[in-house]
């Protein structure tokens, strides 16, 4: 026997149906202009292929080698689609450094894709970002932070970021340098601040003792 809804329940049912139908509408379209803008801005941070191992000097007058031990890049033409008929790609660069005397290992990941609908969280791989990962091979201490290129801030509370239009390191003036300062250091030889230049990569870092190491 068919069940007949009481007259008083019908408005509720209509409202629920309306809400459900509304949710089935087309999703937000990818903002192609913003995606293009921030993709170009992010790609500018990748290290040029002409950059290799560099010599490091420090405040103590000791020299060592900053070894660019690995570089990798991947890009996809279409990795996300929307309901408006758009598709957008994504890209990823990864660079690794070792120091020939100090026991430091740096890993820098640069990633971008479509302009995100919502803000990206600390561990998210969305949006446009540069992730810095530092390991002290001797002590096994690890620290990392993610710089968001859209908000121009670190996504986590472990570090602060400052952008310099120009910054001088040794005798070289670099255009576009990111200064990342970590709030905590674990030891005197732990990295407190690092400087990353567009196209050139890591150009300077300062340890917990205040000793500076720079590309010379």
């Amino acid at each position: 026997m068919a069940t007949v809804l009481p007259l008083s329940d019908k408005p509720v049912l209509i409202i629920m149906l309306a809400l459900a139908l509304q949710a089935c509408g087309p999703s937000d379209c990818i903002d192609i202009n913003k995606s293009d803008y921030y993709s170009a801005k992010t790609k500018a941070w990748a290290i040029h292929t002409t950059i290799g191992d560099r010599e490091l000097a420090d405040d103590l007058g000791i020299r060592q080698t900053l070894i660019l031990s690995a570089r990798d890049s991947v890009s996809y033409d279409e990795s996300v689609w929307d309901d408006c008929g758009n598709a957008y790609g994504s890209f990823f660069y990864s660079f690794q450094y070792n120091t020939s005397l100090s026991s430091l290992h740096f890993m820098i990941d640069i990633q971008g894709g479509e302009y995100p609908y919502e803000s990206c969280g600390e561990g998210d791989n969305c949006g446009f970002f540069i992730r810095f990962h530092i390991t002290n091979i001797r002590t096994s201490d690890i620290k990392n932070t993610t710089y968001d290129i859209v908000t121009q801030k670190c996504r986590d509370s472990r570090a602060t970021a400052e952008y310099h239009e120009q910054y001088t390191v040794g005798d070289t003036v670099y255009e576009g340098v990111l200064e990342i300062t970590f709030k905590e250091t674990f030891a005197a030889n732990d990295v407190k601040t690092l400087y990353y230049a567009k196209g050139h990569g890591l150009v300077k870092f300062v340890n917990g003792d205040g000793v500076s190491f720079w590309v010379d």
Binding site: L60, G61, R63, Q64, T65, S100, L101, S102, S103, N207
Partner: protein, 210 residues
């Protein structure tokens, strides 16, 4: 203990062999597999033996002159001075490496000294073993390995390093490593001072300050 367990298992299988016989003819295959398994398990039981024990002589122990909690001053060729802290000095025994589980082995005593500095970041690790066991003492500097061969005499009866005179000095060369990076490449060592000087591939050096 494992061998005793395996032997008990085999004894159980043999005792119950009669009941297995009473089953179908296909059970004869089981005998074969039981035999093969038992033979394999028995073969894996073995007793490796210690065939010798080597101890360090006092003379060999004295070849590493560092004392725990001491510090040693060094100076870089650019002028900066710093201290290497002697963080660890200990003597222990170890078993020799064996390729197979049942191989015999020897036990040997070894002495290790570790020194460290945060700024600049330097780590020394020196290990000596009895010469009856091996003629090589290992010197490790920031993961670069320098073997000291006792079967060769010290390179220098006397040598002047940074203005100071040293006797019976060994000259150590790095075994392998990246060719292009700035790294330690040679070391001067003697039993009175330990590491006297470390030379880097770019011509810089770290020298003890007497």
């Amino acid at each position: 203990m494992l061998c005793r367990f395996i032997k008990r298992g085999i004894r159980y299988l043999c005792l119950h062999k009669t009941s297995i016989d009473k089953q179908t003819a296909g059970m004869k295959k089981q005998h074969f597999f039981i035999f093969i398994t038992a033979a394999y398990l028995l073969a894996s039981c073995c007793d490796s033996k210690e065939t010798a024990t080597y101890f360090l002589s006092d003379q060999e122990k004295d070849f590493i002159p560092y004392v725990q909690y001491d510090s040693v001053e060094f100076v870089h060729s650019a002028g900066s001075e710093f201290k290497m802290a002697v963080t660890n000095v200990f003597t222990q025994t170890a078993q020799s490496y064996t390729e197979h589980r049942c191989d015999d082995y020897v036990t040997y005593e070894y002495k290790t000294a570790e020194l460290a500095s945060f700024s600049p970041e330097l780590y020394f690790g020196i290990t000596i073993v009895p010469r009856e066991y091996s003629n090589i003492m290992g010197v490790d500097i920031n993961s670069s390995y320098f073997p000291l061969h006792f079967d060769t005499s010290p390179r220098f009866d006397t040598v002047r390093i940074a203005g100071d005179l040293y006797f019976d000095v060994y000259f150590l060369e790095r075994e392998s490593g990246e060719q292009n990076a700035i790294k330690p490449v040679t070391v001067f060592y003697n039993k009175h001072f330990g590491i006297i000087q470390i030379n880097l591939s770019n011509g810089d050096s770290f020298t003890i300050k007497r």
